[in-house]
Every structure is written in structure tokens, then in C-alpha cells.
């Protein structure tokens, strides 16, 4: 701690002497912040309804648009999951659920939840809304491109949803889209369905790249005075690293989509070896199916962290604010986020231990994968150490954070099982995997999303969400989801393979029937509980308790705008000037138990601040 302090002091002294030479300021000016490097941003203010609310260039509106679109796809994904659970829990009850529809639902559920809900919501939704506010910018650096980005995403969603209505239905190849089966007869939706999926993914990648460039450049180049990287809230660090990952990982998805489209349409043989169908050889020859898996997971593993890192960042902020305590080990947290992000490009083939790739890769990827466990574990320690000796408000937001910690630790530990190559052999492609990734990148990030919505709803709308409904929503969701996925691991131990439409009566699997029924029941309840949340949103929009300025007594910039909810341009006349990190809670000597980032040192003279 002390050495950093010294560096800071040294730098301050340097700056002070420099500035005193330049502008004749006094030596004693402890509030000095370097003057602005950049002129004020030039903004386009919409005048008509269309330019204000539809083709809007305000990042906050775009963020809300992203959120609503993503939540809409999420509801579709939720309904699909209900139908899957109907089949799994009560196999012969619903005649409209055939194997084809089941596999189509599995595929669409997976793709929607991972890409169109979680990625779009965290980066497109929270990213757009929070980045300019939290770094003290007036807007994203390229508002026009940002607007196009959303509409690209919208078109991608439309194309995706269109695949439900084409002949043959949506693709049923599993969300991993492994060729050869994805584009061959024998898989549902191997005609139009898979094509629309690939087109939709390509559009998503293009749209996302536009948005992603905005997020990265805004964070790197458009921070306000005094906002150094090491003063940024961890939310921004999480979103920033995830965006960088996305910009570098989505290309692999784009390339594999293009190549598979060509395999389908032009009958090239990138991924297609000699294939005998109905006793006859198809025209393909010499391609490599494993290559697709490498490309897909070179995208797919960073994708996991694209979802996880913003959740890590956001939850750190929520925990800190609501336990009224500085985040423990801020620098460690930042390094952990960056380190996890960097390492995530070197671990992709741990999804492929039993794929038939070169067996020697197992050693490399098991080692790199378990190395990632170290920074991840440190983040967990730091979250609970932030709670320790805090002053914890047990409200809905905090409940969701606690729920996140439990589910994330649980899912993270089963991840160590699967990352450890020899342990993965019996468990891969079983329900253990399903349980693991739903726990760690399904439920855990969703907990954060809910917590974040409860936390920032007062900022976006000026009203609180209903606490009672919120707590009800939390308990049903958390306990229900936990009782879905915790027992599910044990199905994997039995050896129940994933993506089975039904089990028949394999002798050792009969015991799974009862559990499947229980899991299905829990899933119906958890799904239904989400409508409490939607009701709460709609109700509170009009009738919620007015929140006023900075209702949580938080430090970070987004709460310090002159207008609540913030208007276009965010800051009114003058940009804020930042004097400290976002976590000065409970500083000894200060009057209040929080010191906002814009408070100058001279205003809190007695505070014994350690980190600046």
C-alpha cells in the first residue's frame, strides 16, 4: 500500500511543480488536477421523436434499447427452457414435443441465452448506459456508430427469430453447431435454419464490433479529468476487458460462420471429410471437423469470460456500495480481471478433451485452465473480505450479490473438475457439464444482472423497485435455481449424457426419473417467478417510491449527475473532476461514511485517505 501511496505522492509533487511553473499556482494546492487535454465533445441532439427515441444517438437510450431487446430474447429462451423441461420431466405427456422440436429448442435456448441475452445485455445494455456515466464522458465517442450497432443487433435478433418460421424450423444442431451434423440431413433445421443462424451470428458480430470499438475507445480516450485507469470502478474494468475479449474472439466465430455457410451453400469441404449417407458418399472430401471446434472454442472460451467479467466487475461495485466498505484489494481485482481475460485465449481446447484432437494438448490446456483458477479464486476471496467488517445492508441488491457468491463458487469449483483433463473424461458430455455451466455462467451472471437492475433502476427511472416483491423474486429465483442445478451434477455422476431426448429405461438411469421430475417442477416455478420481476418493473416505473439523488449513497460518478435521471450530455454545464477512487467508504475522520469521487481533498481535510 505504502509504495503506491509514495508513487502517487511523487507524481502529485511532480505535477504540482510542473503546474506551478506553468500557471503560477501555489505549492499547497492539494486539489490540483491536470487541465483537460481534449475539447468538449460535439454532440448531435435529436429533435424529433424518431431521432430522440428510435434512431437515437444517446448511449443511455441505446443501452435501454439493448436491454429491452435482450430481455425479450431472454423471455423466448426462458419459454424454450420450460418446454425442454416438460419433455425431460414428463417424457410421454406432451405429444407436440418430438425429438426434432426438442433439439431445436435446446439449440435456440443455448444460443439465445449465451449470445443474444447475456452478451448483449452486459455489454450492449449495461456497457452503453454505464460507461460514459462512470468515466465521466458526455456520451460514447462515436454516437452514430453506436446507434448503428444497436440496429445491427436488432436485425440479428429478427433474423434469428425468423428461423422459427422457415420451412424445417430453426437449427437443432446444439448451440455449438458442430459440423458435419449441423449441415447434414438427420439434424433438424439443417436447411434454412442453420443458414439463418449463421447469418444472424455474423450480423451480431459486425454490430457488436461497432459497439465494442466505442466502449473501448470511450474508456481509453474519453475519461474525465482526474479519472485514471486505476480510479475506475471495477464495473468499467470488467466491461472493458470483456469488450476487448469480444473484439478479439468474435472474429473466430465470424470466420467459422463464413466457412460453414460456404460448406452448406457451395459444398466446399472446410469442415467436411468423406461422408457416407444412405450408403452413398457425399461430394465432400478431406475437411477437418475438429478445425471447426478449435475455431469455435477459440471464440467460445473467451465468450464465457465476456459474460463473466462484467458480472465480476458489477458485483464488486454492488457489494462495496451496499456493505458500505471499500472493495478489498482493488489492484488485485483489476489484475485478476485483466489476467483472466488474457489467459482466456490460451485455454480454449479444454472444451475438447474428448474430441479426438491431438492427445498431447490435454497437458497444455489442463495446466493453463487450472492457472486461471488462481485469479478467479482471489476475486472470490476479495468479495467476501469486502463483506468482512463492513456494514452490510441486507436489501434486494445485496441478496442477489450473496446469491451470486454462492452460485459462482459452486459453479467455479465444478469448473475445476471439468478443467482437470482426467476428471473431465468421465464427466464431459454428461449432465454434470450442464449443471456446471448453468450454475457458473447462467445463474451467477443472472444474479448480478438482477442485482444490477435493482441497483441502477433508480438512476434510470428515478424510482425504486419494490423491495418486498424484489425479495420474493430473489428467494424463489435463488433457492429454485440452486435446487435445479445442484442436484443435476449428480445426474452427471450417474453418467446420464446430455442432449438426450429421453432416457428409455437404462437400468442405472431409472433413478434419474424422479430427480428429473423434481428439477422440472423447480424450473417451472423459477421461470414463473421472473414474471414477478417484470410486474415489479412495470409497476415501479409509475408507482415506485421516488429515489432522488444518489439514493444508495454511492461514490461513483453515475450517481453525481446534475439531473436524475441523467439527460443527454450527462453532465450539464461542466464535466466532473475526479479526485479519488470510487471506494472511499467508511474513511476514518470523514463526516459521512462515503466520499464521492468528485469531492476534492480540501473538502474532507480530516479524512485519513490511504488510496487516491
Amino acid at each position: 500500500m505504502s509504495d503506491e501511496l509514495n508513487i502517487n505522492k511523487k507524481r502529485k509533487n511532480q505535477i504540482k511543480t510542473k503546474s506551478s511553473a506553468a500557471s503560477g499556482r501555489g505549492e499547497t494546492d492539494i486539489d490540483y488536477v491536470r487541465p483537460a487535454e481534449l475539447p468538449e465533445q460535439d454532440l448531435y441532439h435529436g429533435h424529433s421523436f424518431i431521432t430522440k427515441w428510435i434512431f437515437c444517438q444517446d448511449a443511455k437510450v441505446i443501452g435501454v434499447q439493448y436491454t429491452l431487446t435482450a430481455v425479450f430474447t431472454g423471455v423466448v429462451g426462458l419459454i424454450l427452457s420450460w418446454m425442454m423441461r416438460m419433455q425431460l420431466g414428463y417424457p410421454d405427456l406432451f405429444p407436440f414435443l418430438t425429438a426434432e422440436t426438442y433439439y431445436q429448442m435446446v439449440t435456440m435456448h443455448g444460443m439465445i441465452m449465451v449470445v443474444y441475452l447475456l452478451t448483449a445485455l452486459f455489454l450492449g445494455g449495461f456497457g452503453n448506459y454505464l460507461i460514459p456515466l462512470m468515466v465521466g464522458a458526455r456520451d460514447m465517442v462515436f454516437p452514430y456508430v453506436n446507434m448503428i450497432s444497436f440496429w445491427m443487433f436488432f436485425v440479428a435478433v429478427v433474423v434469428l427469430m425468423a428461423s422459427f418460421f422457415v420451412p424445417g424450423g430453426p437449427t437443432g444442431s446444439g448451440w455449438t453447431l458442430y459440423p458435419p451434423q449441423a449441415i447434414l440431413e438427420g439434424t433438424p433445421g439443417s436447411g434454412y435454419g442453420i443458414l439463418l443462424m449463421l447469418i444472424s451470428l455474423s450480423l451480431f458480430v459486425i454490430g457488436f464490433t461497432m459497439g465494442g470499438l466505442n466502449y473501448v475507445i470511450t474508456i481509453l480516450q474519453a475519461r474525465t479529468r482526474g479519472m485514471s485507469l486505476m480510479r475506475m470502478p471495477l464495473t468499467i474494468w470488467g466491461i472493458f476487458t470483456a469488450t476487448v475479449l469480444a473484439l478479439l474472439a468474435f472474429p473466430a466465430l465470424l470466420v467459422s460462420s463464413i466457412m460453414m455457410t460456404l460448406d452448406k451453400v457451395l459444398e466446399t469441404s472446410f469442415f467436411m471429410p468423406t461422408i457416407i449417407k444412405a450408403g452413398e458418399a457425399l461430394s465432400y472430401d478431406g475437411g477437418s471437423p475438429i478445425l471447426f471446434q478449435h475455431l469455435f472454442w477459440f471464440f467460445g472460451h473467451p465468450e464465457v469470460y465476456i459474460v463473466a467479467l462484467p458480472a465480476f466487475g458489477i458485483v464488486s461495485d454492488l457489494i462495496s456500495v451496499h456493505s458500505r466498505k471499500n472493495i478489498f484489494g482493488y489492484r488485485m481485482m483489476v489484475w485478476a480481471i485483466v489476467g483472466i481475460g488474457a489467459l482466456s485465449f490460451f485455454v480454449w481446447a479444454h472444451h475438447m478433451y474428448v474430441s479426438g484432437m491431438s492427445p498431447w494438448f490435454g497437458f497444455f490446456f489442463a495446466t493453463t485452465t487450472l492457472i486461471i483458477a488462481v485469479p478467479t479464486a482471489l476475486k472470490v476471496y476479495n468479495w467476501i473480505l469486502t463483506l468482512w467488517r463492513g456494514n452490510i445492508r441486507i436489501n434486494t441488491v445485496m441478496l442477489f450479490c450473496l446469491g451470486f457468491i454462492v452460485t459462482f463458487v459452486n459453479g467455479g469449483i465444478t469448473g475445476i473438475f471439468l478443467g482437470n483433463v482426467a476428471v473431465d473424461v468421465p464427466l464431459s458430455d454428461t449432465y454434470f457439464v450442464i449443471a456446471h455451466f448453468h450454475m457458473v455462467m447462467g445463474i451467477a451472471p443472472l444474479m448480478v444482472i438482477f442485482g444490477a437492475i435493482y441497483h441502477w433502476f433508480p438512476l434510470v427511472t428515478g424510482r425504486f423497485l419494490d423491495e418486498k416483491l424484489g425479495k420474493l423474486h430473489f428467494w424463489i429465483t435463488f433457492l429454485g435455481a440452486y435446487s435445479i442445478y445442484f442436484p443435476m451434477h449428480y445426474l452427471g455422476f450417474i453418467g446420464v449424457p446430455r442432449r438426450y431426448f429421453e432416457m428409455y429405461d437404462s437400468p442405472y438411469m431409472t433413478s434419474a426419473v424422479g430427480m428429473n421430475e423434481f428439477i422440472s417442477l423447480a424450473a417451472f416455478i423459477v421461470g414463473a417467478a421472473q414474471f414477478i420481476f417484470f410486474y415489479n418493473l412495470v409497476k415501479s416505473l409509475r408507482l415506485g417510491k421516488p429515489a432522488g439523488k444518489n439514493p444508495w449513497k454511492a461514490n461513483s460518478l453515475e450517481w453525481l449527475t446534475p439531473d436524475v435521471p441523467p439527460t443527454h450530455g450527462n453532465w450539464g454545464e461542466k464535466l466532473p473532476v475526479v479526485h479519488r477512487w470510487a471506494y472511499d467508504y467508511g474513511v476514518p475522520g470523514a463526516k459521512e461514511d462515503y466520499i464521492p469521487q468528485t469531492t476534492a481533498p480540501s473538502e474532507v481535510k480530516d479524512a485519513e485517505v490511504e488510496k487516491t
Binding site: 500500500m1 458442430y178 468423406t274 492427445p359 489442463a366 488510496k611
Partner: protein
């Protein structure tokens, strides 16, 4: 109070469920008990971390609940604590990784006395090929699969002449003798998986993959396809029978060899029609689909 108690109940419930669960792995029937051991080790270390972290969290909820006017401790960093935790985690990770790598090393190195068995996967079923007396499988290529040559064997390869064809879903294996499973697929990805043997690997069209195990319990086991392979994936079952030498040899002698197959094929052209039916995969697929519609 209430919150802390429920979280405590979740943790205790998890432990109770784990200890008394009726859902546990099916009895092992191969040499890979080392995999089970590494899983148990992971459970001890991982489960320990889970319990400690969550209990600490619950303690914090109880102890540091919001009180008006109380200040939280101001301590941005604690170098010593963070360093200690890093080392502790690293040790835990190494303790998990090292045995895993050792087991994997055994998994990819096949013992010399292993019997080769080719598993040929297709949409949606299994066929097998065993080496003849020479103990070697002949070269094969999907390109030359035909009615006369259902396994696509290279006619010029002497190793293939005495290869044994098992054109059914049922495979017999010798007890206590390692087998090297050579996986081959003629259409899409499949995965030859018997839960009791713990081991699995994808069958990839266009290349051959392998793994090995040593069955050590007599009995019949169900084969499951563990890599999604199309609409009848769930119906792609097979059977493995592990038995002693006597009955194994009897079964083996009942199977056809490549040379006897070709000879018979030339002798009896009538037979060809029947073979077409067996090999006509689409008819098989339709029957599966039909079965589904009936249901």
C-alpha cells in the same frame, strides 16, 4: 438474521445432499478407478473451499449486518493476507492438477498387450471390427465403402484379410485384458461411451481416434452415444458384453471375417440384396423415426 439462516441452510443442505444422495456413480467396471479417485480428491479440496467461503460469508452476514452509525473498517489492501491466499490457492490447484495429469498420461498411452477393436459409428448405430489372428487391423477408408466392402477395407492390405466383422450393435470383450478402442465414423461426430468404463472419446469422420481401458467385471453394459449426432442421438445405443475366455472365443468364432465375407459375396449374388438392406442406413433411420411417430 433470516437471510443468514437461509444461506446457512443452503450450505448444510448441500452437504447433507452430497453425503446421503442416492444418486451416485454407477459401479466402475474398468481399470480407471484413478479417475474416480481424482474426482473424490477434487470433492475434498473443492468442497472444502466452497464450505469455508460460504460459511465465512454467512458469518459476515450475521456479524456485520447494517447498524445505523457504525463505520466499516477502512483497509483498502492487506498485502500479507493476499499473498498468503494466493499461495494457498496455488498449492490447492497444484494438488488437483498433478494427479490429473498423471492419470491423463496413462489414458493416452496404450499398453502393448491391448487388443485393437475398431468401433465404427454411423447415424445411428454401432458396428465393430476386430483384428484376426495377426492381431492387426487392415487399412480402411470411408471412400471405398460399398455393399461388397461394408467397412471400406483396402483390398490390397494383407492385414485386413482376416479382420473380423461384427455387424451388430453388440460387442464382446475379454475380461482383464486391455482394449484399445479405435473410433471411426462414417458420417458425423459420435462418442463411444459406457458409463461403467468411465472413459470416452469422440469418433470423428475423416480421422481415427482412440482410447483404452481394461474391463474387469463380467456383465452386460449399455453403450451410449455421448456426442450429439442428429435427431436420433438419444436412440443410438449399443451393448458391450464382458466375459471370460471360453464364451468370448465361442462368440468370436461365430463372426464373419473379411475373406469369408467376400468369398460368400461372390458365391452367392442373391445374398447381396439382403446386404443392401442391412447397409442401407436411410431405411434404418426411417424406422427409428417411425418408431418415434408411433409413440
Amino acid at each position: 438474521m433470516f437471510t443468514g439462516l437461509i444461506f446457512l441452510a443452503v450450505i448444510i443442505g448441500s452437504i447433507v445432499f452430497h453425503v446421503w444422495t442416492p444418486w451416485w456413480w454407477t459401479d466402475i467396471a474398468s481399470n480407471w478407478s484413478a479417475m474416480d479417485d481424482t474426482i473424490i480428491l477434487s470433492f475434498w479440496i473443492g468442497g472444502g473451499v466452497f464450505i469455508l467461503v460460504c460459511l465465512f460469508m454467512v458469518y459476515c452476514i450475521f456479524r456485520y449486518q447494517y447498524k445505523e452509525g457504525r463505520r466499516s473498517e477502512y483497509k483498502p489492501e492487506d498485502k500479507k493476507l493476499e499473498k498468503g491466499l494466493t499461495w494457498l490457492t496455488t498449492i490447492g490447484v497444484v494438488a488437483l492438477l498433478a494427479p490429473g495429469l498423471v492419470v491423463w498420461n496413462n489414458y493416452i498411452r496404450v499398453p502393448d498387450n491391448a487388443i485393437q477393436v475398431e468401433v465404427m459409428a454411423w447415424q445411428w448405430g454401432w458396428k465393430y471390427r476386430l483384428p484376426g489372428k495377426d492381431g492387426k487391423l487392415g487399412a480402411s477408408n470411408n471412400r471405398i465403402i460399398s455393399d461388397d466392402n461394408p467397412y471400406g477395407l483396402n483390398i490390397d492390405d494383407p492385414n485386413g484379410k482376416d479382420d473380423v466383422f461384427v455387424e451388430s450393435n453388440e460387442l464382446h470383450l475379454l475380461k482383464d485384458r486391455p482394449v484399445k478402442i479405435l473410433l471411426r465414423s462414417i458420417d458425423v461426430l459420435h462418442n463411444f461411451y459406457v458409463p461403467q468404463f468411465r472413459s470416452k472419446m469422440d469418433a470423428v469422420p475423416g480421422t481415427i481416434t482412440y482410447y483404452w481401458f481394461e474391463p474387469n467385471k463380467n456383465g452386460e453394459y449399455e453403450v451410449l452415444c455421448a456426442e450429439y449426432c442428429g435427431v436420433a442421438h438419444y436412440a443410438m445405443r449399443g451393448k458391450v458384453v464382458v466375459e471370460d475366455e471360453g464364451s468370448y472365443n465361442k462368440w468370436l468364432s461365430e463372426q464373419e471375417t473379411f475373406s469369408s465375407f467376400t468369398a460368400k459375396n461372390i458365391d452367392n449374388k442373391l445374398n447381396k440384396k439382403k446386404l443392401v438392406k442391412i447397409n442401407n442406413l436411410s431405411s434404418n433411420k426411417n424406422s427409428i423415426l417411425k418408431e418415434q411417430d408411433v409413440r
